[in-house]
Symmetry: C2
C-alpha cells in the first residue's frame, strides 16, 4: 500500500507512540524499562517520548519502581502527573448548574452544584452563572484544564456546540459553546475562554461515564431521567448517536399509543408516565417545591402508598419501553441511571416484571437490569473524564497546543 | 509502533494489496497503467498482483482499455472475471425454499424458488430439498461458488450456523449449517459440501442487500415481513447485531402493551397487528391458501374495503413501532422491505401519519420513509452477494484456499 509523505508519516508515528507510552503509564505506574517491555519500542525511543510527555506536564516521576527481580537498581516509576492538565466539566440542568474538575487520573478535585431554576431564564444569565461556577472550581483546584465539556439537557445539533432543543429550558437552537465562551471572558483570573469546548447531551455523557467508570460491557442501554428521559445506547463500546445526533430519545417512545397528550405533540409517550411531572402528579405532589427525586425517595421510604404506586406505575412504563429497546438492540445490560438510580428500589419490581413478560424470544435474566452507581453524578463526571481521556488518547495533539 | 514479524507482515501487505487492486477493478474496468495510478503501487507490483488474481480466476481481460489521451497503445482492460467464483445463496422460508447464484459482479445467474410448506416438516426433509435446489442452480449456472450463505427465518446464535429459534417453523436450536452440509453430500455432481457455509437471519440479509444494492445511507432501519416481522438496523454502514446476535426483533416490540396475547408469551406485540396471521384475520382471509402477500395485494387492488382496512391497521401499528425505533436510533431512513414492499401503497398512509405525529423532537420528513426496490428478493440476494463481497474484500484468503 502506498504510504503518505515522509515527514507527515513520521510525525504520525511519533504521535501514535506518545499515545502508546502514555496509555501504558495510565494503566499502571511503570519504569522506563517496563515501558520498553510493554510497548516494544526501543529504550532510546521510550526515553525521548517520556521526556516529551514530562515536558508537556502529563507524566511525573513517583519514586522507585517496584523491584523487578532483575539485577541492578530499580528504575524510577512514571505515573500520570497528579498536577497535570485536568478535565473541566460543566452541567446545565433545569433546576441546577454544576461544575467539576478531575485530574489526569480521573480523580475528582473539585465539585460544585448550585440549585437554581433555569426554566425561562435568559440564556445569558444561565451561562454567566455557569461561567462563574467553572472559574470557581478551576481556581480552587489549582490546575489548568486541558478542555471543557458541557452536559446539556437536550439533543446537540450537528453545528458544533449548538443545543438544538431543550424544551424543559425553553431553549431552541441556542449556540451554547459560543455563548459560554463569551461569558467565560468576563470573569475569572485564569483564561478559560480559550479552551476547546465540547457540548454533549447529558444522557449520552451519563452513559459514557457508566462505560468508563462503572465497568459496563460494550453493549448496554443506560436509561436516565434528568430534565427529560434519555437513553444512552452503547454499541460495541461506542455511543450510538444516530444519523443526525438525535439517537436515544427514549422519553418520546410511545408506551400507550392512545394515551394522554404529551407536550411534544404526540400521545402516550414514556415521559407522560415516567417523567418528573407525570410521577409527581401521580404521587399527588405536583407543584411541591424541591428536588423531585429526593422528595419522591423520602416519601416512598416513609411508606407513602400513593408515592409508591406512582413509582410502580413509572416502573411499568419504563419496563415497557425498555422491553422494546431490548427487542430492537439486544443489549447485554439495561442500566437504570440518573435520578432513577436513587428511586430504583421502587421502580425495579415493575420494570423486572415487564421485561420478564415481554422479552421472550431471546435469553433475558433479571440481573441484566442493573442500577448505576454514579446516578445523577454521571453526566458531569462523563463530561470531565471525557476531557482527560481525549488527552491520554492523543497526547501529541495536546503537547503541540 | 512495533510492527509484527517480517514474513507475516509482508504476507499481510501483499494480501491487503491484492484487495486494493481487486477493489479498484471491481469499481470499473481498468488497465494496468490505470491501476498504478489508482492504487499508488509500482507497475511491477501491479503486474504481479494482477497475475495472481488472474490465476485465482478472479480477474479477466476484456479487450482494450478506453483511450487515455496519452501517447502509446491503450492497455488491456481488466475486469472481474465473469466466470470467476460466484456466490451461492439459499433461503429457508416458512412456505418456500429458494436458491440463487450470482457471479463475481453480483449479477444473478440462476434463481429458483420452490413453494413448500415447511411448518412442522422434519428438518432433514427441508434441508434435503434445499440441497437439491442448491445443486440445481449451481449446475445450471456452470460456475463453482466461493461460498454459500443461507437466509433463515429466525435469530442465529453465537454457535456458528445454529438457528436458535424459528418459532414459525417449529425449530429451536437447530444446527442448520451442519445439517445442510450432510444433505449436500448426498446429492449433486459438483462438491458443495466443502464450501464455507454462513447462516444469517433473513431480516439482516434483507437489510444488507438494501445497503449494498439499493444505495441506502449508512444509517437506516429496514422493516420486513417474511415468516415474522424483523428489522435490520444499519448503523454507520454496519449491521447492528446486539450483544447476543438478537437485535432487530421488531415483531415483539410492544405496540399496545395491554393488547391481545401473542404466541411469544407477551401481549400487544407488533406481530399481533402487522404479522401475516393478524392481517389475514383482520382481512377476513384467515385460512385462505396461497401467498399471503399476493393475496392481500390482489384484494386491496380490487378495492376490497376490509382488506384495505386491515392493511391500514397494520400500517398504523408499523408506524407506532417505527416511531419508537426512530426515537431510539435516529436513522436517516426507514425502509419498508420484504413482503411489506409489495403492500406499501396500502400501508404507507397510516405509517406516515403515525411517524409524523409521533416523531416530533427532531426533524422528520415523509420522504425518509421509503420502499425497498428488492422486496422479498432481498434476503436471498443479500446472502449470495455477501459471498462475492467477501471474496473481493479479501481475495488473498480465497486465492490461498
Amino acid at each position: 500500500m502506498r504510504v503518505g509523505g515522509g515527514p507527515a508519516s513520521q510525525q504520525g508515528v511519533r504521535r501514535a507512540n506518545l499515545a502508546l507510552v502514555l496509555d501504558a503509564i495510565a494503566s499502571a505506574p511503570r519504569s522506563r524499562a517496563e515501558l520498553v517491555a510493554a510497548t516494544g519500542l526501543t529504550r532510546a525511543a521510550v526515553s525521548s517520548l517520556v521526556d516529551e510527555l514530562t515536558t508537556a506536564g502529563l507524566v511525573a516521576e513517583c519514586g522507585p519502581a517496584a523491584p523487578s527481580g532483575k539485577v541492578g537498581r530499580p528504575g524510577t516509576a512514571l505515573t500520570l502527573a497528579p498536577d497535570g492538565p485536568g478535565g473541566l466539566g460543566g452541567e446545565i440542568g433545569v433546576a441546577h448548574l454544576a461544575a467539576c474538575v478531575v485530574d489526569l487520573r480521573g480523580d475528582v478535585r473539585q465539585w460544585r452544584r448550585l440549585a437554581v431554576d433555569n426554566r425561562g431564564r435568559p440564556v445569558e444569565a444561565v451561562l454567566a452563572d455557569l461561567a462563574g461556577l467553572l472559574h470557581d472550581v478551576v481556581d480552587r483546584a489549582g490546575t489548568v484544564p486541558a478542555g471543557l465539556a458541557l452536559a446539556v439537557p437536550g439533543p446537540v445539533g450537528a453545528a458544533e456546540g449548538t443545543v438544538v432543543r431543550a424544551p424543559n429550558l425553553g431553549w431552541s437552537d441556542v449556540p451554547v459553546a459560543a455563548g459560554l465562551r463569551t461569558a467565560l471572558r468576563t470573569v475569572g483570573a485564569i483564561d478559560l475562554a480559550g479552551l476547546p469546548i465540547d457540548v454533549e447531551n447529558e444522557a449520552n455523557l451519563g452513559g459514557l461515564a457508566e462505560l468508563w467508570l462503572a465497568g459496563r460491557p460494550d453493549d448496554f442501554c443506560h436509561l436516565s431521567a434528568e430534565a427529560g428521559i434519555g437513553a444512552a445506547l452503547v454499541v460495541g463500546g461506542r455511543l450510538l448517536r444516530g444519523a443526525g445526533g438525535f439517537a436515544g430519545e427514549l422519553g418520546h417512545v410511545p408506551v400507550h399509543p392512545d394515551g394522554p397528550d404529551c407536550p411534544c405533540g404526540a400521545r402516550g409517550c414514556l415521559e407522560r408516565y415516567a417523567g418528573e411531572r407525570a410521577v409527581l402528579e401521580a404521587a399527588g405532589l405536583a407543584g411541591v417545591d424541591g428536588d423531585w427525586v429526593v422528595l419522591l425517595a423520602e416519601r416512598a421510604r416513609a411508606g407513602d402508598a400513593k408515592v409508591r404506586d406512582a413509582l410502580a406505575g413509572a416502573g411499568t412504563a419504563l419496563g415497557i419501553a425498555a422491553a422494546g429497546a431490548v427487542s430492537l438492540l439486544d443489549p447485554a445490560e439495561v442500566v437504570l441511571g440518573g435520578g432513577y438510580a436513587e428511586l430504583a428500589q421502587w421502580l425495579l419490581p415493575a420494570m423486572r416484571r415487564e421485561l420478564a413478560g415481554r422479552v421472550t424470544v431471546r435469553p433475558w435474566a433479571d440481573e441484566r437490569l442493573t442500577v448505576s452507581p454514579l446516578g445523577r453524578r454521571g453526566p458531569l463526571l462523563g463530561a470531565a473524564v471525557g476531557v482527560v481521556r481525549s488527552v491520554i488518547a492523543d497526547p501529541g495533539r495536546f503537547a503541540e497546543d
